[in-house]
Symmetry: C2
Subunit: 138 residues, 2 copies
Amino acid sequence: MKNDIAEILKRNQLSVTESRAKILELFHESRSALAHADIENKTDESYDRVTIYRTLQTFVEKGIIHTIPTADNSVLYALCKDECTQGKHNDNHVHFICDICGTTYCLDHITVPEINLPKGFTPHCTDVVASGICKNCK
Amino acid sequence: MKNDIAEILKRNQLSVTESRAKILELFHESRSALAHADIENKTDESYDRVTIYRTLQTFVEKGIIHTIPTADNSVLYALCKDECTQGKHNDNHVHFICDICGTTYCLDHITVPEINLPKGFTPHCTDVVASGICKNCK
DNA sequence: AAAATATTTGCAACAAAGTTGCATACTGTT
DNA sequence: AACAGTATGCAACTTTGTTGCAAATATTTT
């Protein structure tokens, strides 16, 4: 597992550092999306805030993780599907935010239906954010 | 028009003040969603930041405007459809963010298709955020 | 129409979130 | 093992959002 993580970093031309490996591992362990604060907590604040910001930014640029739109201000991150590469995100998928526990799920396997946009609008990426009650809270 | 604005405020049990009327007018004039900063600019900074924050919050609570989820941190607001009332938003509609000019459109008349969620997930509200090229930038 | 009451505004101070420059520490390479 | 290149942590700063309170404005009552 440790090796897998290092592999992913190398494949993306990133040097393998403790913080990057640890943060990437967190995403692989977690079934739900993570916020900056979650990462600070789950790493016992061993890394500087700035390092976490920069790591997340790097991962997004490399197509390893993506941001999830949320109605409240907060920024969430989740692993990308394999097809994402640097500069090209293919994250047309469905996100589900639980109103009760707040957990955000990235439902990769659910496909986003075709949306009929008005004339003149050309979509490039479509995100669906559903909220309600998740399987653990019902 | 001025009267219309005052009417809307009164209908929502809000006292009619200059800042509220002006901000609500801005939303009615604008075909696209507005951020806090847009409002500061369009009002020539005549109102305190705090007043704008509180006004937006009040409008959201009353069901006059709603927030739009965006992948980058920013918070956007747009007018609600008539069916929204205090505490109950019916904003299951499609938002479109232009990658070029950044304008965010609220496509009220486009309906959100049914999404097949996994077993155990009960949706309560579904937002679609499409991004791409808008009619003015193509 | 003026006084009384209730609400809103703006200021100041604060808290949280995110960014930048730079010296130090670490990683990968020769 | 030494070197070059990159990442990290610190400090300082900016931006964004919040709270308490006195002054100002809106609404209600007389």
